[in-house]
């Protein structure tokens, strides 16, 4: 008798993967905790994180959104102005360090820098450059709007039973003088790039782990009951500033993020890891879930990921349905996603 004799079929590649049609690969996740239709779930992260909130809402689960769209705003304009994209209007939070920065601001551990960007009389928030596509009418309007978002972000942590964070990138842009991070490189969506001030850094394993640990600490201090589900976006980088080939840079980033997420989930009882990254990226799935550009995840892939999420919940905890039935909103399309990073593709042109 050796230990492998008691390993279940899901532990062997042949029975779990090779002998199956890839759409029949199952038991990919044994969740640590149950997400019930009553659970309040907050979602943040990279572009791919948007699917999770939408899927929860489509299934009748409680997607925590303390920052409400105004009465009458259509779905189309809500997306345009970043309502109902994440739990509050933070825009994409691509890195673990950006999540930590938002938490420190929201819980009073750090002050939001005074830097604002002005273009043609309109004001742009360097930390949410895409939430107001035409810019704000004035500094005051920008600051008031950001205060609303910070309060909502704080509430989304305090109210959450489950906090889902999708890690997207390790590459970050910093203000060397102020020591703070931008979600996008200045000069891309907005702002002006200054090589003396704006500094590139590619986070390593230890830095991502440290930032996530600090972020979790703030969240647990604010809300001791909150449980965290980490995921890693399967979407490759649009562009890299690392000097490496974008495919190699992508693998490095995703490997670090995946390793940290797995490590934290293994070590911490209140942290789990959901393998959306593997579902899309594993060779077992033959790249079938990607759009022809081999970057964007096609809607069948999103559905498969979210179906897996709910199916694994049901397999572990029993029937778990909300009032809805769809795995994703029937109207949701890939191009509905709000992805600031994709703006970088325009700088590649036809090269």
């Amino acid at each position: 008798m050796n230990p492998y004799e008691t390993v279940p079929p899901s532990g062997f590649w042949r029975t779990a993967v090779a002998d199956k049609n890839f759409l029949d690969i199952s038991e990919l996740w044994v969740p640590k905790f149950r997400v019930t239709p009553k659970s309040m779930v907050s979602t943040y992260g990279s572009c791919f994180a948007q699917h999770i909130g939408n899927a929860l809402a489509a299934r009748g689960f409680r997607w925590c959104r303390p920052e409400k769209r105004p009465f009458g705003l259509s779905d189309e304009n809500a997306k345009k102005f970043n309502y109902d994209v994440f739990s509050s209007r933070t825009g994409n939070i691509y890195t673990a360090t950006l999540l930590l920065q938002w938490l420190r601001w929201a819980f009073g551990e750090a002050k939001v820098p005074e830097e604002l960007w002005e273009k043609d009389g309109r004001w742009i928030d360097p930390f949410r450059p895409n939430v107001e596509p035409g810019g704000f009418a004035s500094k005051e309007e920008l600051l008031e709007s950001r205060a609303v978002t910070l309060a909502a972000f704080r509430r989304s942590v305090e109210m959450a039973d489950i906090f889902v964070f999708t890690l997207g990138l390790t590459e970050q842009w910093l203000n060397a003088d102020g020591g703070y991070e931008y979600p996008m490189c200045p000069g891309t969506i907005a702002g002006t790039f200054d090589p003396k001030v704006h500094q590139f850094h590619n986070l390593n394993y230890v830095e991502v782990q440290g930032a996530l640990n600090s972020a979790i600490k703030i969240m647990h201090r604010a809300n001791p009951r909150v449980k965290i589900i980490l995921t890693v976006s399967p979407v490759p980088l649009t562009a890299t500033n690392s000097g490496k080939h974008v495919l190699v840079a992508t693998m490095q980033s995703k490997s670090i993020l995946r390793a940290v997420a797995g490590h934290l989930a293994d070590r911490r009882g209140r942290v789990d890891y959901f393998p959306s990254y593997e579902i899309i990226n594993s060779p077992a799935f033959k790249g079938a879930f990607f759009e022809p550009n081999q970057r964007n995840v096609a809607m069948p892939g999103v559905r498969f990921v979210m179906d897996t999420f709910f199916r694994c919940q049901a397999e572990t905890f029993g029937i778990n349905e909300g009032s809805g039935g769809a795995s994703v909103s029937p109207n949701e399309k890939q191009n509905d996603l709000v992805c600031e990073e994709e703006i970088l593709s325009k700088f590649g042109g036809q090269k």
Binding site: P70, F71, N77, F81, E132, F136
Partner: protein, 235 residues
């Protein structure tokens, strides 16, 4: 002058009020084509007439119009689309939103409304005068207080006019000022007391709404509204 009123359950207050005051407006006749709830989605222009697309809607239109199953624009001199732009709840506010977001929300309310849809269809067959009015503001529920907005209701009405209804050659009618609480989007509670449902069956008189009704207004409100509106069509 013959006026055709197309609307939803909010027409109940106008119908009741019109019965009370029609004697004072002998030169006018009002014909109502109203449907409760969201059934107005099943009203559309077909062969130049506004018709119900389902049997139940056709039956209801017959009751509210006094026997007509369809609205033939040829038969009327003026049109009013009433209650077909949604109004916010009393606790809603626009204060914490940017100007761009506020404008987008107001525009969406108009452009995506059943009023804009039906007026757009009507405009393909007639250029007769058209007026449009949103659903009345709700009254604050219970002990709730109504929230203030960044601009007055009149300014908002002017915005509706500019962004959505100028191009349809339709005039937006604001809710009468004396019924609106300050710079809120709420109606004084006295105007919902004793409100009645839209009559949808010939034999049954309209039932009163349960106490605590916040959406629908009463006969008194209907009178004020009509006294506010009717002089505009005489002009």
């Amino acid at each position: 002058m013959k006026v055709c009123v197309v609307g939803n359950s909010h027409c109940g207050a106008l119908i009741e009020a019109w019965r009370q005051i029609c004697g004072s407006w002998a030169d006018l006749s009002l014909t109502f084509f109203a449907t409760p709830g969201t059934k107005i989605r099943n009203v559309a222009l077909r062969d130049g007439k506004l018709v119900g697309l389902t049997d139940d809607v056709r039956e209801i239109l017959k009751v509210t119009s006094g026997g007509l199953q369809e609205c033939d624009p040829e038969q009327y001199d003026s049109f009013l689309f009433y209650g077909l732009i949604k109004s916010p709840k009393a606790e809603h506010t626009d204060v914490k939103y940017s100007a761009a977001v506020r404008e987008a929300a107001l525009t969406d309310r108009c452009v995506e409304s059943n009023a804009a849809r039906l007026i757009g269809q009507l405009r393909t067959v007639t250029d007769k005068p058209v007026s449009v009015a949103a659903a009345p503001f709700r009254v604050p529920a219970g002990t709730d207080t109504a929230s203030a907005w960044t601009c007055s209701h009149e300014e908002e009405t002017a915005f509706f006019q500019r962004v959505a209804f100028d191009k349809l050659s339709a005039s937006v009618i604001a809710q009468p000022k004396e019924t609106v609480i300050g710079q809120t989007r709420a109606t004084f509670a006295e105007f919902s007391t004793g409100s009645k449902r839209l009559q949808v069956e010939t034999e049954r008189a309209p039932k009163a709404h349960p106490s605590g009704e916040v959406s629908h207004m009463n006969c008194r409100y209907g009178e004020i509204w009509l006294e506010h509106y009717l002089p505009t069509i005489r002009k």
